[in-house]
């Protein structure tokens, strides 16, 4: 394992502290419970909390800030944070308007966020709503989930729910628009290389020099098929095909497009891939309202990319375009 770190044990805390050092005016870090929060909380609006295992940087702490999250709870690499961590995040960002938890659909995450929500409701009379993101069309059930996995589409849920909360909607309203986003967002990805979990120190899986894992998950979980590497154009076609068939997305739909890197793929390739994906969408007469290209929801150092499409209506468009000021996304 070749990583720019000190020890696997101290990695998550050092990373969070390094992030706060880079954004001292915006972020604060609770090291005991590994919670990254806004420095200036807004206690009037609905509080938005997300998080999960670490290793998806900049998700989720990079999306804490005005117009997106209020707190990100950071688990160990690829392991859900504990119930008490999440519970403390709820307490720490408690707002009169209530709290929405945005959970990626993995069984560990669901159980811990659910348990924390119940604790806060029962012990502290905090209103806590929850939504579960499950945008990956690759596989129905995976190693870590019951039902579909939550992947890069989560970022768009953060953005839209964040804007809705910022404009003062109530808890039910924010939850409703988050669920509408989840209902309309679909993703799929592929890996050119495996990731390496620091505590393990060796790659999670092995691909031959000319092989990719098509339909891979953001923890390096297996996808649909292991096959020969092909062109960017071909990969774009196949991801868009699978995603469009699923919702379905049809001619005339307006969409947001997220071309997401898994951490090890350079921006050069992501932008090039964006061209191929855009051409695919244009060929299907989908109208691209907004595009994001970059490393948003990574799998540590995995090379590869995913495509996320979100079908938009006027409400979602307005919320997507609303201002956001976070380390990893500014609108």
């Amino acid at each position: 394992m070749k990583k720019l770190i000190n020890t696997p044990e101290t990695l998550v805390v050092e990373m969070c502290e390094g992030m706060v050092k880079a954004h001292p005016e915006h972020l604060a870090f609770n090291a005991k419970h590994k919670i990254v929060t806004r420095k200036q909380p807004n206690k009037q609006k609905v509080s938005l909390i997300s998080g999960g295992g670490s290793g998806h940087e900049p998700a989720h702490a990079g999306f804490v800030g005005k117009g997106m999250l209020d707190a990100a709870v950071c688990g160990d690499v690829f392991a859900s944070p504990s119930t008490i961590q999440v519970y403390n995040a709820i307490l720490q960002t408690q707002s009169e308007a209530g709290t929405l938890l945005i959970v990626k659909n993995y069984s560990g995450d669901c159980m811990n966020f659910d348990a924390a929500a119940e604790m806060a409701e029962e012990d502290d009379d905090i209103k806590v709503a929850r939504v579960y993101v499950n945008d990956d069309v690759a596989v129905k059930d995976s190693l870590y989930t019951v039902g579909r996995r939550g992947v890069a589409g989560t970022i768009l849920v953060h953005k839209i729910a964040g804007a809705a909360a910022e404009e003062g909607r109530d808890l039910a309203g924010v939850k409703a628009v988050a669920e509408k986003t989840i209902a309309n967002v679909r993703s799929m990805g592929f890996a050119l290389t495996s990731c390496t979990v620091p505590a393990k120190g060796s790659p999670t899986f092995t691909l031959a020099d000319d092989e990719i894992e098509f339909g891979v998950g953001i923890h390096g979980e297996p996808g649909i098929v292991r096959e020969k590497l092909t062109s960017a154009t071909d990969l774009a076609y196949r991801l868009v095909e699978a995603i469009c068939a699923d919702l379905p997305f049809v001619a005339g739909d307006e969409v947001a497009l997220l071309v997401n890197g898994f951490g090890g793929t350079p921006l050069q390739e992501l932008y090039l891939f964006n061209l191929a994906v855009s051409h695919e969408l244009e060929a299907r007469e989908l109208k691209i309202h907004r595009t994001l290209v970059g490393n948003y929801m990574t799998a540590i150092d995995m090379a590869g990319a995913s495509v996320t499409l979100l079908r938009l209506d006027d409400e979602l468009k307005a919320l997507l375009d609303a201002p956001a000021d976070t380390p990893a996304l500014k609108v």
Partner: protein
Amino acid sequence: METISKDQVMHTVAAMCDIIIKNEVPFCELDSVAGDGDFGMSLAKGFKQIQAQWAELETDDIGAFLKSCGMVITEHCGGASGPIWGSAFRGMGKSAQDKATLNLIELGEMLQAAVDAIQKRGGAKLGDKTLLDALIPLVESIKLSAAAQSALLPAFQEAAKAAVEGAEKTKLITATKGRASYVGERSINFPDAGATAIGVIATELLMQ
């Protein structure tokens, strides 16, 4: 009727800490086949913390003690193990509230509370290839022994046997629901990590 004292309960939890920490790596390996290989680590994290905070745990009665163990697990274990083992201990804590001793009937009730808490939290049932496939037979065995007014030691021996057998049977299950269902065929012939751990812990506790 024979009873278990608060000290014996505490002694048992202390022994569980040793067993779980000792088995950290093997438990991870069990989880590697169809899982993500972190089960031993996740579980040990909580029980190491119980050891570390041993002096601060509540010891007024069996219930208070088990509940405070559950709180430590709930705080320090992430992943699926945190909520499962945490709610199990907190469930047992509630069941044994204010009790200074437990007879076999009460033990059965307390363990049933653990099962209920796990099911409430995770929604799994017998046959889903989870630790319930070892824990439920263990609890049923204790209840049968209680009904038969068995002595403690043979009851424990029967219970451990039931747990190991239950864990063993998870080999035959192709996970149809939940976390292992995706790997499907790949999970067959391998027992569930959590179930196996229950069998191992029950067996090793007997030897102490």
